[in-house]
């Protein structure tokens, strides 16, 4: 298998894109629904906690340089336990890919093409993503390098256009901090999308230099961006309306009216969503394919990528509708994410530490 090389800038952009994905569009309404006017603070808290946990991931990665997450699992856990851990992480990538695929299906069906079967969106999208994953991570990174700056600039221009609708009164009354709801929201936010970025540990060995710094920097930038977007949504749409809209950004752009010539800019936001989701699914799909190839020591990714379309599009149909999706997220997202983001890395670190300690003792006895 070829060994691609990613620059630190490309990895920084990949981290941001991986985090933006669909979370950027779904999360604000969930946050505003429970934490009201102060909901823009929660991404900052979740981001700060995740950056601390990310240091743990990076410490694990630094103990095995030039090894991906799957190779670390195999090295630390041995043939059987390591294989089980690696399979768990491959399943996690598959799960994320199918969830995000479903997100794009839901969005397209609800806003763009209501009469088209949802499976059609999934399969069409996955065909392109399969092609991207066969081409490799350097192709995905270069595409992202071109698309992400355009997305961010467009988003800021759209924000500027909505300034006439901004009202500071929408941040009043500043209600007392509801600790229970905020802790629940913050923990769910940590699981989706922050813990998902742990899958980037599969491609971290391909980064030429400053991988750790750029990973943390990407997380920090995304945290600020999400907080800003939530702040902007509250100021423009208000708490009540943004908590009732599934896609508050889309609603804002639907109502925008600068002049008779410039109005209804929702297609722009649809393009942004399609772009960010495309990059996110490409990364997780590639990580899944690469993980399988590394686990079974295969050289060609093509014949793993193709049948995965069938599997991912099938798993994406698991949720009946968006209500079931949101309900599952509220109930189990943190517990599910914590297994892959906290528990398994801690086990890997502990076993790795014990192994190194026993090896050192053996060396001392031999001397």
């Amino acid at each position: 298998m070829e060994r691609p090389q990613l620059s630190s800038w490309q990895f920084f952009l990949l981290t941001i894109s991986h985090l933006i994905g669909s979370a950027f569009f779904y999360i604000p309404s969930t946050l505003v629904g429970t934490s009201k006017q102060i909901s823009w603070i929660l991404p900052l808290i979740a981001g700060a906690f995740t950056i601390i946990i990310a240091c743990l991931w990076l410490h694990l990665a630094s103990q095995y340089p030039k090894h991906s997450l799957i190779q670390i699992c195999l090295k630390v856990g041995g043939k059987y336990v390591g294989c089980f851990f690696a399979l768990l992480y491959i399943w996690y990538c598959l799960q994320i890919t199918s969830w995000v695929t479903r997100d794009i299906g839901n969005f397209a069906k609800m806003t763009l093409l209501p009469h088209t079967p949802i499976t059609m969106f999934h399969i069409m999208f996955l065909l392109i993503i399969c092609y991207a994953s066969i081409k490799g991570i350097d192709t995905i990174a270069r595409t992202n390098e071109l698309l992400l700056p355009i997305v961010i600039i467009t988003l800021f221009i759209l924000f500027l256009l909505t300034i006439p609708d901004w009202k500071w009164e929408r941040f009043e009354p500043l209600l007392p901090f509801d600790w229970n709801a905020s802790v629940k929201n913050t923990s769910n936010l940590m699981a989706f999308p922050f813990f998902e970025s742990f899958t980037l540990m599969i491609i971290i060995p391909y980064v030429k230099n400053k991988a750790k710094k750029n990973f943390l920097l990407g997380m920090g930038c995304y945290t600020l961006l999400l907080s800003m977007v939530t702040f902007f949504i509250i100021g423009t749409l208000g708490v009540v309306r943004s908590s009732h809209a599934i896609y508050p950004l889309y609603t804002i752009m639907q109502e925008i009216q600068i002049s008779p010539l410039i109005e209804h800019l929702e297609s722009t936001i649809s393009m942004i969503l399609l772009t960010t989701i495309f990059v996110k699914i490409s990364i997780t799909y590639y990580c899944c394919v690469l993980g399988i190839c590394q686990l079974f020591q295969l050289k060609d990714r093509t014949w793993v990528s193709i049948p995965l379309i069938l599997l991912v599009s099938g798993i994406a149909m698991a949720f009946e509708d968006i209500v079931e999706d949101v309900d599952w997220y509220n109930k189990y997202a943190f517990a599910n994410g914590a297994l892959y983001g906290i528990i398994l890395p801690l086990i890997l670190l502990a076993v790795s530490g014990i192994r190194k300690f026993s090896n050192r003792q053996k060396e001392n006895i031999a001397k």
Binding site: F296, Q297, D300, W303, V304, P307, L310, L311, G314, A318
Partner: protein, 68 residues
Amino acid sequence: MITFLLFFLISFTICLIILFKNKKPRKEIILFITIAMLGFADWISIITRHNFNPNKWIGIIIDQISFW
């Protein structure tokens, strides 16, 4: 159902022919068949309305663990 079965059989056979013609390693062929069969089983469960929902199973496991 019949359309899906026909589509799957035709595409699966074409892929297998290409794999054998290119003399791909046995491991790669087995993995291809395994993933394709998993996807096929998942889609059959959707078509027969006995939808396999891994998220539901994960939820049950988490509930059981938190109960204990």
